[in-house]
Symmetry: C2
Subunit: 489 residues, 2 copies
């Protein structure tokens, strides 16, 4: 099965292209939605959607666009996909588990803000059940397939959200990320994956995986689009206990093109792991070479503390949060849960609070070591994933290989970092590869500005489409330094 | 037994007075220390000290003063007391439990910084065992007695540290505070009690009570002295997982006299509790009247969410942290622990991690409600304690009454607030009463500047001494407003 037929060669679902076609009258939001539904039928076997919205389900938002000025609504008519652990009013939220499903009366805070900004929901996307997984195969409706090669995993847990954008069935999408679910599928489908600082996007109306660690995330073709979507999606929400005020120096207008010298931390060579995937190893080394030519300087960092933190996510007591999130189903009807997911979550009722406190102490200790290293560089750069598995390889050893997928991603939320996954090169097998930039809490726009530079330096296509993804923002931004000025009065 | 004999009527242990007497040659640090040891003998029955240092144990620090310039060492020759859950090199740390005791090779980070600034340790002070209590009676060496009236509790758990300063046996002291241990004894002994933001003072070398909540604290006669001691004590320490960088607008030089209009949140009348202590109720109302005359405006806040948080501290899974802190003793030899302390800590091994996560979710939710109210005012103001119990009353119902002591204090560290206890008036029974100012994380200097204004407006004596405590800093500071200025380059 091929995923790019001829009719799609000129398809451009980027924000600028769509807005231009709306302005010139070449298309309307309704015609774009009709086209999406038609093309979605071609990809039925990819298992992208849990609920693709019908024309009548979409009507209310398309109608509302008449009262919205395109110039003041940055997402006017832009189609977006929603991972099915995020509420969209009057549409079931299933988290990939029918026995768990409910139909919310209200949309999640972020979905509502996006709709208010003019965006149009396309549907609810497939996921590793309860967002427990990084591979995209753990769904009762069937594994989600990669947008470049049907035999490869899509990555997860935000599998459908990534594949939908990569195939041009949405212009951006919402995922969630606890252990890497907003980054791994971005890597495997040639997309930008923004994992914001915890609390930048409201979690109201989002089903928790690990409530203390979860972030809503954004998949987009490039950093320009991601910044527009993020600006509409973000905001303090006092109903969400983990919501935080975004400081001034991380606001949308701080996004631009990071110019000047850059010192970037990279993992010491002996700590890199590619789990036998030579094509990914080559792509990573090639990425570093290309970036060096673009003025990036690299400094090796010791990954040991990051790795120890990463291992605590699934081996430590945080699985208790997943247990809570699936109560009472996990207690009353565990058979309704996908077997490999149940196997992971079921022990979560057992760890004592003492184990959790001890793990938190350890993580806080390790965090200081990590932050001290990060203070020496502009950001960290890691492979987003060490290996891209085929479906067959993944299903052979579903838990071990999932854990391998998290080698570079699991630590992130446990120590409250921001990150963005960026595609950098295609492998020798013509599959996507990408890296992740990592920075401290509320470094989101700084990271996106560096990612913009990488996307401009290493031009690639939009997802699995045939048009270029290169962002166009060239507003120069340097290293953020802030000075507090006190005003007395 | 009286606690103020004639010879002490003119004793002034404040920083300025001591420095003046050193400069003029009226006294030397050695003569002050000898005098302290002599006077300490008079208060033997107060059970202040677990280990009062001998002349030879102090010699090393007194000798070192010769190489230190008084002008560049703000604590030159200033005697301070150390709660016996904080390490002083080569002296046993007991936490009030001989079976637990060990002799550290190094001083805690904060003690070392104070010594480096010229301060001289006087001894290790009595405490509620393992810092578990707010009353000062839970010690195998005997209950610590109040500095004003031997029949009253000293407050705890930092009991000896407060009473030592109040009686002029030290000029300031270190306590610790998890649930109120750095504030309740300040209130009962007519002292300022600074409970800094978590992580402002290093916890390296401090025995944990609840590791995730603990703060080291400072008892002093007034805010001027407290600010000098705090400036020497604070600082980022990467070995402490909870240590944090202090932002610019909370640094020592931001301390001054808060002038101008002030809007202060006070607890709605129906939510105030004095547990039958009319003298404390009157003192509180009198305090508000006096402050109103001084330009304070009050706005009622709803205390329900604060109170719900407070109750979670002992009724929720945080007792698991106390369990961890006493391991392996609590597992191997529980009989070695003071009975009422054992009764509190022993169940701490039982709560599951799920209970802790659920409690953390609830607290984060409630925190947003609390912070939204606090954003409307310059700070909160509460009674520090609702009632001052006699020894006899306390021992009648040790757990219930301890919990009553925490009604206004327990919530503080669970939602990461800063606070300072300030004496305001003497009760009709000639006992000390005080209030606590509460602000967000890193509002320490703002709170101290308001406390300075209160101390200047309501002159009181230094602890149980006969000299006035009124601070002299009159540098006007207004409401802190910070503007971030970005420097690109």
């Amino acid at each position: 099965m091929t995923t790019n037929n001829t009719s799609e060669n000129t398809l451009d679902m980027g924000f600028s292209a769509l807005r231009e076609s709306y302005k010139t009258g070449v298309a309307t939001p309704a015609s774009v939605m009709a086209d999406i539904r038609q093309r979605a039928a071609d990809y039925k076997d990819h298992n992208i959607w849990i609920h693709l919205l019908t024309e009548s389900e979409q009507a209310v938002w398309l109608d509302a666009l008449k009262d919205k000025d395109m110039d003041t609504h940055p997402l006017w008519g832009i189609p977006f996909a929603i991972k099915d652990n995020i509420d969209l009013a009057d549409i079931p939220t299933t988290a990939g588990c029918d026995a768990f499903a409910y139909t919310p009366k209200k949309s999640s805070q972020v979905v509502q803000q996006l709709i208010d900004a003019g965006a149009i929901p396309v549907g609810k996307t497939n996921l590793d059940q309860f967002a427990t997984g990084l591979n995209g195969t753990r769904s009762p409706i069937g594994a989600c397939h990669n947008s470049f090669n049907y035999d490869y995993i899509s990555g997860g847990s935000s599998s459908g959200s990534a594949v939908a954008v990569a195939l041009g069935l949405a212009s951006f999408s919402l995922g969630t990320d606890t252990a890497g679910s907003g980054r791994i599928p971005a890597c495997f489908n040639n997309l930008v994956g923004v994992k914001p600082s915890i609390g930048l996007l409201s979690a109201t109306g989002m089903l928790p995986a690990c409530r203390s660690l979860d972030c809503m995330t954004i998949f987009a073709y490039n950093t320009d689009d991601a910044n527009v979507a993020l600006a509409a999606a973000e905001g303090f929400d006092e109903r969400d206990g983990y919501s935080r005020q975004n400081p001034f120096d991380n606001q949308a207008r701080q996004y631009g093109l990071r110019t000047g010298p850059l010192k970037v931390g990279v993992i010491a060579a002996h700590q890199l792991k590619f789990f036998g995937d030579e094509s990914y190893e080559k792509a990573y080394l090639q990425t570093l070479e290309l970036l060096k030519e673009q003025g990036f300087a690299f400094q090796e960092i010791d990954y040991a503390s990051f790795d120890e933190i990463a291992q605590l996510l699934y081996e430590g007591p945080w699985v208790s949060e997943r247990y809570i999130a699936t109560q009472p189903l996990i207690d009353d009807n565990p058979e309704a849960i996908f077997p490999v997911v149940r196997e992971i979550i079921a022990p979560g009722g057992k760890p004592p609070a003492t184990a959790l406190f001890k793990a938190q102490y350890r993580i806080n200790y390790l965090k200081q070591i990590c932050l001290a290293q990060m203070a020496q560089v502009d950001c960290l750069l890691t492979p987003t994933a060490g290996r891209h598995f085929t479906m067959a390889e993944m299903l052979e050893e579903p838990i071990k290989r999932n854990s391998e997928l998290g080698y570079y991603t699991n630590f992130m939320n446990l120590i409250d970092l921001a990150s963005i996954a960026v595609p950098t090169v295609m492998t020798e097998n013509d599959m996507p590869f990408g890296i992740t930039l990592v920075g401290p809490t509320f470094s989101d726009r700084m990271l996106m500005s560096i990612a913009n530079r990488i996307q401009q330096a290493l031009p690639l296509k939009k997802g699995a489409l045939e048009v270029m993804a290169t962002p166009s923002n060239t507003t120069s931004v340097g290293h953020n330094q802030t000075i507090d000025v006190m005003v007395c009065g």
